[in-house]
C-alpha cells in the first residue's frame, strides 16, 4: 500500500512531470510490465492482521499500569497525608477554572485549615489502595479533587466553602475512616459544634444505663412482696 502511494511521487521527482495531470488507472499494461521489471527484489513481507479492538485494549491495559514516577508520587502523597494527620477527606468534582481563581481559592481554603489537592484519579486510587478508604474508588471517575482537613469540625467549613465556589462540588466525605454521604454531612453541618453530638450520644447511653438499673431494681423490689404473698397462700 505504501509502495503504491509513494511510487507516483518518486516518478514525479525523477521525471519532473507535473502532478496536476491525473494518471490513467489502471496504468497501461506496458507500463505495468515495465514497472514490474524494474521493481527491486525484496523478501516477501508478512502482513499481520490485528483483530479489531486489540490496540485499544492494549492502550487501556497500559494506562492502568503505574510508572515508577507515579508510584513515587503516590507514596509521597500517602506519607504526607499520614504525617499531617488529616481526619477529614472530601472527594469533590472539580470543574475547569482559570488558574488565577484556583490559586486564590486554594490560598483562601488553606487559611481556613483546608488543603486542596488534585493529583488525578489514577494517583489517588494508588494512594488509597489497601486502606479503608479504597471504597472511595467508585467515586473517582472524571475530574476530581480532594479537600483535606485536620479537624472534624472543618466538615462544616468544607461544606460552607464549597457552596461558595461554583467549580467544586463535594461528592462524598470521609471522617476517620468512616464514609459520610452528603445528606448526613449537611445534617452534621447544621449542628453548632461536634460537641453537641457527643453530648447527645452520652445522654442516650446514660438513659439506657439508667433504664437498666430501674428495671433491675423493680425486680428486686417486687421479689420480697411476691415471696410474702406466696408464703401467705401456702399457710
Amino acid at each position: 500500500m505504501l509502495n503504491r502511494s509513494l511510487r507516483p511521487l518518486a516518478n514525479v521527482q525523477v521525471r519532473s512531470v507535473s502532478s496536476k495531470y491525473p494518471r490513467p488507472t489502471p496504468r497501461h499494461f506496458k507500463r505495468r510490465v515495465f514497472e514490474a521489471a524494474l521493481q527491486p527484489e525484496l523478501p516477501p513481507t508478512v502482513s499481520n492482521c490485528i483483530p479489531p479492538g486489540l490496540i485499544k485494549k492494549e492502550h487501556t491495559e497500559k494506562s492502568k499500569e503505574y510508572s515508577d514516577v507515579e508510584i513515587a508520587l503516590a507514596n509521597l502523597v500517602r506519607d504526607w497525608m499520614v504525617r499531617e494527620e488529616f481526619r477529614v477527606l472530601a472527594v469533590c468534582q472539580f470543574l475547569p477554572v482559570p488558574g488565577r481563581t484556583l490559586w486564590f481559592a486554594k490560598n483562601q481554603l488553606k487559611s481556613k485549615g483546608i488543603e486542596f489537592r488534585s493529583y488525578g484519579n489514577k494517583i489517588l486510587k494508588k494512594v488509597l489502595e489497601n486502606t479503608p478508604m479504597s471504597s472511595l474508588d467508585s467515586v473517582l471517575v472524571g475530574n476530581n479533587a480532594i479537600l483535606l482537613a485536620k479537624d472534624v469540625s472543618s466538615l462544616k467549613t468544607i461544606l460552607q466553602e464549597t457552596d461558595k465556589l461554583n467549580w467544586i462540588e463535594p461528592l462524598i466525605l470521609m471522617v476517620d475512616s468512616r464514609i459520610v454521604d452528603m445528606v448526613q454531612a449537611r445534617d452534621l453541618a447544621k449542628l453548632s459544634s461536634m460537641e453537641d453530638l457527643r453530648a447527645h450520644t452520652v445522654q442516650i447511653l446514660g438513659q439506657q444505663v439508667a433504664q437498666i438499673t430501674i428495671s433491675l431494681d423493680s425486680a428486686t423490689r417486687h421479689l420480697p412482696s411476691l415471696l410474702d404473698a406466696y408464703a401467705s397462700q401456702k399457710k
Binding site: 488565577r100 490559586w103 486564590f104 490560598n107 483562601q108 488553606k110 487559611s111
Partner: protein, 195 residues
C-alpha cells in the same frame, strides 16, 4: 476586469481580538506613559490611558523611580478598572540584593551570592502581595530559591565574607563588561553587514 476592480476595492479582513478582563503587565514605578507598550495595551481595552498613567504614577509615588512593578488591571465592561499594584518583581529584588545587574548567560554560571537571611527578608516583602496571601513563608522562600537558580545566584546558609564577596563582585564586573562588549560588537557587525 470587473472582478479585479472588486478585489482592489475589497478591504482587508480585520480580525478583532477579544481581550480578557485581566491585563498582567510590569510597569516601572512613576514611569507609566502613553507610549508603547503600555499605551496600546490599555487603548485596545478601551481605557483612558492618560488617566490611568496619572493614577498609576500617583499611587507608585512611594517607590523609587524605575522599579519594575507587576501590575494587574481588571477591566470591567463599563471601561472602569481595578488596579492592583504588587511588590517589585522577584528578579529585581534578588538582583538588587546580590548587587548585580545581569543574570547568567551560560549554564552553571554564578553571577552573585546571597544568604538565606536575604531570601527571608525578600520573602517577607513578597508575602504582602495579594497573590501570596495565606501562602507559607517557607513556600515563598522555596520559590525564591528556584528564581535564584534561574538567575544564577548562589544561595548559601552561612553569612557572606565581605572581602571574598568584594573580590567576587570585582571579577564578575570585568566578566560582565567583556560580555556586554562582545554583544555590542556583534550588534555593530550585524548592522554593518551588507549581504
Amino acid at each position: 476586469m470587473a472582478s479585479k476592480g472588486a478585489a482592489r476595492v475589497r478591504k482587508k479582513e480585520i480580525v478583532k481580538v477579544i481581550h480578557g478582563a485581566l491585563l498582567r503587565t510590569n510597569i516601572k514605578a512613576q514611569m507609566a506613559s502613553a507610549a508603547p507598550p503600555l499605551g496600546p495595551q490599555l487603548g485596545q481595552r478601551g481605557l483612558n490611558v492618560a488617566n490611568f498613567c496619572k493614577e498609576f504614577n500617583k499611587e507608585t509615588g512611594h517607590f523609587k523611580q524605575g522599579v519594575p512593578l507587576p501590575t494587574r488591571i481588571t477591566v470591567k465592561p463599563d471601561r472602569s478598572y481595578d488596579l492592583e499594584i504588587c511588590t517589585p518583581t522577584t528578579t529585581w529584588l534578588l538582583k538588587q540584593a546580590a548587587g548585580i545587574g545581569r543574570g547568567k548567560a551560560d549554564k552553571d554560571e554564578i553571577v552573585g551570592k546571597l544568604t538565606v537571611k536575604h531570601l527571608y527578608e525578600i520573602a517577607k516583602v513578597k508575602s504582602r502581595d495579594k497573590a501570596l496571601q495565606h501562602v507559607e513563608l517557607e513556600h515563598i522562600c522555596r520559590m525564591l530559591i528556584k528564581t535564584c537558580r534561574t538567575l544564577g545566584i548562589q544561595v548559601q546558609y552561612h553569612d557572606l565574607d565581605p572581602v571574598e564577596l568584594k573580590e567576587f563582585l570585582v571579577a564578575r564586573k570585568e566578566k560582565v563588561d567583556a560580555q556586554l562588549k562582545e554583544l555590542a560588537d556583534k550588534k555593530a557587525a550585524k548592522m554593518l553587514r551588507t549581504t
